[in-house]
Symmetry: C2
Subunit: 111 residues, 2 copies
DNA sequence: CCGTATCCGACTAGATACTG
DNA sequence: CAGTATCTAGTCGGATACGG
């Protein structure tokens, strides 16, 4: 069945989608995890040197709640926690590609 | 020729694209103008009753600078100014659709 | 009709220090 | 290793009043 969008509801729909990767670091994190990569907390820290621990954990938690990231805890000492994208998270890739493609179009319309 | 993205540059690329419709009202405005609609300043105000004049003009100006909106001034009294999307602005539609489609996928992965 | 100018509260992210 | 807690500066949007 089809949805019938009004300008307002369509905008709200997109905003909902955007909110899920809104936050200064979520895209960077996602791109590090695309392709099925599984990284530890400390590996993400090293991969993104300018992020603080606070921001890293905050963004990861929100992404987990939103269902784009999976948190994998290994019960050991010392602690080991890994992060990976969910299937749904991986599925964002094509949409982001579309955005990149659109940004590239600008050259043809600018002067 | 192909670009070779790193996680960081890809994220920056998407962020650049996102910035262009970032701001609380830009998407709403765009959805009102999709399909070639041409609207006057006052018509946009009526179409989006909760926006203030300040925000409306601010978002429109930025969108104009960024090249997604075209400003059409008719030299008359009383003043008449119309706004429309550029070709590039219209070209955003598919990418936003991809985002909407992705958001819909969530049902299949949630429980 | 189509804007501009100013003030102000809310939210975000960074710095920093500390813990199981 | 993998977090938590607190404080603060900067940014964004809303309210309101005024101008060509």
């Amino acid at each position: 069945m089809e949805k019938n969008w009004t300008p307002v509801t369509a905008a709200k729909g997109v905003e909902q989608a955007l909110k899920i990767f809104d936050g200064k670091w979520k895209l960077v994190i996602m791109f590090h995890l695309f392709g099925g990569q599984v990284l530890r907390f400390s590996e993400l820290e090293k991969a993104i040197p300018t992020i603080t621990q606070k921001m890293l954990i905050q963004q990861l938690r929100q992404m987990e709640v939103d269902g784009v990231v999976r948190r994998i805890v290994h019960a050991q000492a010392p602690p080991k926690v890994e992060y990976a994208l969910t299937d749904w998270g991986q599925a964002l890739c094509p949409a982001l590609d579309a955005l990149l493609k659109w940004a590239d179009l600008r050259e043809n319309h600018d002067r």
